[in-house]
């Protein structure tokens, strides 16, 4: 077993272990950062596979995304630090079964499938080929990504902003019905009052 194999095994184990920890830790902040660790481990595997750009880029993309994830976790989750232990799951058994089935099915594909198994050319520079591709054949992908991201940005601002163009985003909506210490109430009588954000009824 070579050194690379060893590091691959360690990183694979870290990625899977911390991915699993995400769903069994009480603290939301910990959960987000366990996910980040999982991503970082995958990024290291990518580096080992020779994807020098994607591996490193995964670090910065995911560091930002998980930071934001943690922010929103803490903003909107009750008991964000898991001071009281909790388990907020439904259809637990079914979900676990689905996960296991998916794992075995995909592994079977990996083991029994017939994939090319040759190392990539040693003189290949992954960053340069990617750049050429972006400016050449896949230019459409590139530019349409720009438009999609623009749409996302506008949608995000419109949905989350309080000071909407047409006044308060929640003007006319009723105060929420939450019993102190209880679960959030979402009874039907509150519907129809949410006139401020009808634009995301897709």
């Amino acid at each position: 077993m070579s050194f690379v194999d060893l590091i691959f095994l360690i990183c694979g184990a870290i990625a899977i272990f911390s991915g699993w920890r995400v769903f069994c830790t009480d603290s939301m902040v910990r959960a987000s950062f366990f996910l980040l660790i999982s991503f970082i481990a995958v990024g290291v595997i990518m580096l080992l596979l020779g994807a020098v750009y994607l591996g490193v880029a995964l670090f910065f993309m995911m560091a930002v995304e998980m930071m934001v994830m943690a922010l929103f976790m803490v903003m909107f989750m009750m008991n964000p630090a898991g001071l009281n232990p909790m388990k907020m799951v439904h259809q637990d058994k079914f979900a676990a079964l689905a996960g296991v089935v998916a794992f075995f099915a995909l592994s079977a594909v990996a083991v029994f499938g017939d994939f090319p198994d040759q190392p990539r050319p040693s003189d290949l520079d992954p960053v340069v080929t990617l750049g050429k591709e972006l400016l050449g054949d896949s230019m459409l992908v590139f530019e349409s990504a720009g438009v999609t991201l623009l749409a996302t940005m506008i949608g995000v601002v419109a949905m989350s902003s309080h000071r909407g163009r047409y006044g308060d985003a929640n003007a006319g909506s009723r105060p929420p019905g939450l019993e102190p210490g209880g679960m959030p109430a979402f009874s039907g009588d509150q519907e129809g009052s949410s006139g401020g954000h009808h634009h995301h009824h897709h």
Binding site: V4, G12, I16, G19, V22, F23, A31, L35, S38, I45, M46, L49, A51, L54, G55, L58, M61, E65, M69, F76, M88, V89, H90, D92, F94, A96, G99, A102, A105, L106, S107, V109, F115, P116, D117, Q118, R120, P121, T129, L130, E133, L134, S138, V141, A145, L149, T152, M153, G155, V156, M159, S160, A169, S173, P176, M183, P184, A185, F186, H200
Partner: protein, 101 residues
């Protein structure tokens, strides 16, 4: 490290992610599950790219597209969480059902 081991790791990530996405009540935790699935997909894509023998850039491009999907999913997901919370002060997936008129 070979294509098979890499794909098995990816499969495990996808499996765990699927479990999370199906079981979690909270919308933000559900997104974590989705992220984990996409994490596995990205790893698989890079694995195929690395062992394809040609190093065609499409493999990398696929990974980037997955990342973009992830970013968009997260941004829109959180914006939705904010909007729902503003109206109902809830972050549960069930609360979203109120929006399915």
């Amino acid at each position: 490290m070979s294509i098979i081991t890499v794909q098995i790791v990816a499969a495990a990530l996808i499996g765990i992610g699927l479990y999370g996405a199906l079981s979690q009540q909270s919308f933000v935790m559900l997104m974590m599950g989705l992220e984990l699935i996409l994490n596995g997909v990205m790893l698989a894509a890079v694995g195929f790219w690395a062992y394809s023998g040609t190093g065609i850039p499409e493999g990398q491009l696929l990974t980037i597209v997955v990342m973009a999907v992830m970013a968009i999913e997260m941004a829109l997901g959180f914006a939705l969480v904010v909007a729902v919370y503003r109206g109902k002060q809830a972050d549960m997936t069930e609360a979203l059902e109120g929006f399915k008129h």
